[in-house]
């Protein structure tokens, strides 16, 4: 009995000692208290993108479609945007309340998987859904997307690049929703100056000086393709067989040099470099362990919440390849709102998609969610041009490969290449790197 008690005590002491040992190396949390809540939606007036005549006309069609019943629609948008979309959807219902009873559910679905989920079961999928531009071909080919009902307006209102990305075989198949689905540099202004943020070498050097980290996600093809693109490789849609990825006329040695430059740099600064998800960058800002990182446009709001006024945003820096400072080139995409071709209420769905992608809604989302606009007027608005993060990412668009038609086999080989170059124990000899690059490109092409 006694021994039992002693042992239990011993065990308890051990556990407590373990806790205390860990607590011993206390570092004060450096995160500034920042109010994470968004500016309240406030009293907003319902915006109507249509004239009274149009509404009567559209309303009549919606009424016809409803045929006396309730119109039920489902919208898919990611978790972070739920509140904004719920409010916008309510406004839409308000406009047509005299014509039909409309019920719209906003459900959670990230843009990355939306396409696959629509395709696996179009009948239970959302009628109107947000998706990333790389899924256009996959969705449009079997006819899962309804053609846009207002092609002229959409074309005139949105940036030509976004409209082009939303076009498949001559038809406009989706409504541009976001003009900057991409990633760029975010840094802590206390650690890194705007000047340092221009070159990757300087950033890593600053991280080393501060004993902090630079984080980017090299294990994901979406980010890792930048190593190839910086070396001059570009995707150019499809080959004639309609299945294989087509590339530009790239120089394999230059691509290798680019990949090798990244690999060597990460190896040199391996103590201050970390490959992790973009959420880890934001976490690092919160914990005060990270000076800079590559984040997605969708992370801007949380990065601002973590860093407050110290948040700095810039286009991706340059990297020194064989003596020349080369700007890093990334993949630049869009987000679209698609209308499910199997929807029971195509007319209402089209009107809703149009409404959600119009100028005012994009403006609202730019202000509340930091989603960069595809709408020309919003892109030129004071809010966007004065916004550091949005102007930075729109500037990034000038040095990037448009994410239009990307085959499904693109991502995994890129991710494997990214994982390869961030493993510092690898021997990055010219020949080894070249072999990896060739393997990666072959894998993209072969399957």
């Amino acid at each position: 009995m006694n021994a039992k008690r002693i042992l239990a005590l011993l065990f308890a002491v051990l556990m407590v000692a373990g806790c205390l040992a860990a607590c011993g190396e206390t570092k004060p949390a450096t995160t500034d208290p920042v109010d994470g809540t968004q500016a309240a939606t406030g009293a907003q007036t319902t915006f109507v993108p249509w004239s009274a005549e149009d509404i009567a006309d559209l309303g009549a069609n919606i009424q016809k479609e409803a045929a006396g019943n309730k119109v039920t629609l489902k919208v898919w948008q990611p978790e972070a945007a739920q509140d904004v979309f719920k409010a916008q959807v309510a406004d839409f219902k308000e406009i047509f309340k005299d014509y039909a009873e409309i019920e719209i559910e906003v459900a959670i679905q990230g843009e990355g998987d939306a396409g696959a989920n629509v395709l696996s079961d179009p009948n239970t999928a959302a009628d109107v859904f947000g998706f990333a531009s790389d899924q256009i071909m996959k969705l449009a080919k079997p006819g899962a997307l309804a053609n846009v009902m207002f092609p002229n307006e959409v074309t005139s209102m949105n940036t030509p690049a976004s409209v082009e990305a939303a076009t498949y075989e001559g038809n406009l198949v989706a409504y541009p929703e976001v003009g900057d689905n991409s990633y760029f540099l975010c840094y802590d202004k206390r650690d890194i100056t705007a000047d340092q943020a221009k070159s990757l070498e300087a950033i890593l050097e600053a991280c080393k000086a501060n004993n902090k980290r630079f984080i980017m996600n090299t294990g994901d093809g979406y980010f890792a393709c930048m190593f190839l693109f910086t070396g001059g490789l570009e995707t150019m849609g499809l080959e004639e067989d309609g299945e294989t990825q087509k590339f530009n006329d790239y120089d394999i040695d230059q691509v290798t040099a680019s990949v090798k430059a990244f690999a060597d740099l990460f190896k040199t600064y391996k103590a201050n470099f970390e490959s992790n998800q973009t959420s880890a960058v934001v976490d690092g800002f919160k914990n005060g362990t990270t000076s800079a990182g590559v984040i997605g446009s969708w992370d801007v709001a949380s990065a601002k919440a973590a860093l407050g006024e110290n948040a700095g945003f810039a286009i991706l820096p340059t990297i020194n390849i064989n003596g020349t400072d080369t700007p890093i080139k990334n993949m630049f995409g869009y987000k679209f709102i698609g209308v499910n071709s199997q929807t029971k209420f195509p007319y209402t769905a089209q009107a809703l998609a149009y409404y959600l992608s119009n100028e005012e809604c994009q403006q609202e989302r730019a202000e509340q969610l930091e989603w960069g606009p595809s709408n020309i007027n919003v892109a030129n608005s004071d809010f966007v041009t004065n916004n550091e993060s949005m102007s930075a990412i729109l500037a990034q668009a000038t040095n990037s490969v448009p994410q239009t038609i990307i085959v499904g086999t693109f991502w995994d080989p890129c991710a494997a290449l990214g994982t390869y170059i961030t493993e510092s124990s690898n021997d990055f000899s010219e020949a080894n790197v070249k072999a990896e690059v060739e393997k990666c490109i072959n894998n993209i092409l072969d399957l």
């Binding site: 006309d57 179009p122 080919k141 846009v148 914990n287 994982t419 399957l447």
Partner: protein, 505 residues
Amino acid sequence: MKYIDYIQLNPLQRFWYKFKETIKNLPNTLKAFFCAIGKAIKNFVLKIALGIKDFAVGFAQGDIITKLSYIIMGLGNVTRGQVIKGIIFFSLEVAYIAFMVFFGGAYLSQFFHLEAQYHYETISGGRGGTSQTLVYDSYSNQILLYGILAIMATLAIVAVYVASTKSARKCEQLVKAGKKPETFISEVKEFLDSKFHITLLSVPVILICVFVLLPLIFMILMAFTNYDDKNYFSFQWVGMANFAEIFSGNTTGASMGYTFGNIVLWTLIWAVAATFSNYILGMVVALMINKKGIKLKKLWRTLFVMTIAVPQFVTLLLISQMIGQSQDSPLNLIISMFTGAPSQFNVMAPLYDGWIARIAVIIINIWIGIPYTILMTTGILMNIPEDLYESARIDGAGPVKSFTKITLPYMLFVTTPHMITNFIGNLNNFNVMYLLTGGGPSMGDYAYGAGKTDLLITLLYRLSVDKQKYGLGAAIGILVFIVCATLSLITFNMTKSAKDEEAFS
């Protein structure tokens, strides 16, 4: 070897002997198995032929009412006093016809080409002008599924039909002989006694048919189609193309054949390593806890068993977060506590052909599996006669020797079947691999982004859920089945319990 020799062997030798014999007999066992299947099929065909003969004879000899009830099911029963039974037969016939006319028939007719049906719809109005849309009337997977359903329904109705004709014939004969056909009540009563098995099994069997057999047939057939991310809505029969891809190897890129071969190899290595490491180490811990003179036995056991009690996905997700490559991951924090410098140890490092991750999952699996072994073996370990150890100690054997010479052989002998089930469970250990590593690290030499720790079962999931290669995934599923079925077959032949029950005779 004669029986007298056999019983003189020690347990380990007996096990080894049994094992050798099983392997030696494997060709015969397999042959016997397939012969048995062949015989079953032959019997089945014979039975059907007999049935058809009966059926024809019954029709020829029956009177007009019996003849009519070959068309209108249940007529014979109704006119001869078995009203309720007759009505049941008739309503089943009506239900089947309605099902085929309004639903099943259309799908059955498309079953052989599978192609989806669609039309174009145009909507116009407002400022926007027109929008033309492709609207699907039926999808290939619907056709496949409903087609199978229609075939199953047809088989079922044929069985009912045969039963109804037999019943009509029996009624006629009974009436002719001046007897009364059985009443409905007395027939129902039989279901509680001589036909009790039907009462018991009907509901489970129907449920299994709908929720296991039907989907199984669906997926097996899917392996012969090109249902994948390029043919979502409309796909066709492609014969053995998916199997051909699995065994194909092209030279430049990552080929499926290469991937499959390596993943099979790793799956086997993993299953052996995971099973034996858990088994032996778990037993060592159990022995330590149960050693004479060790106090607080219950506390120690609970400490380990706690980890089983927490839902597995929680612990696995937790550990996968804890071994992340970040400097902030608990694993790296612990390492840096010992080394004093920030640690960047990466379990998923793409080095040494992924062996870091492979060894890591085996170690983590020990963490998961040992408590199970402790739970299971404690009771059996207590049963080993103490005097065995006592005499070993007198002979000068240390703890290691008495473990390898006494405990292990004894336990192996007693728990072999359990180990083999464990082995098969580990072959298909989806949770551990999927939640811990997600199959990674992917080093670019496998097809479809498969990684170095991918098992066959996670490959199956990756292909059919993540990559939407449903056809290819189903083909892999069939291969997994063949592997598991062969192993199970060996197991059942090795263990006496199965032989006693004549599971496969």
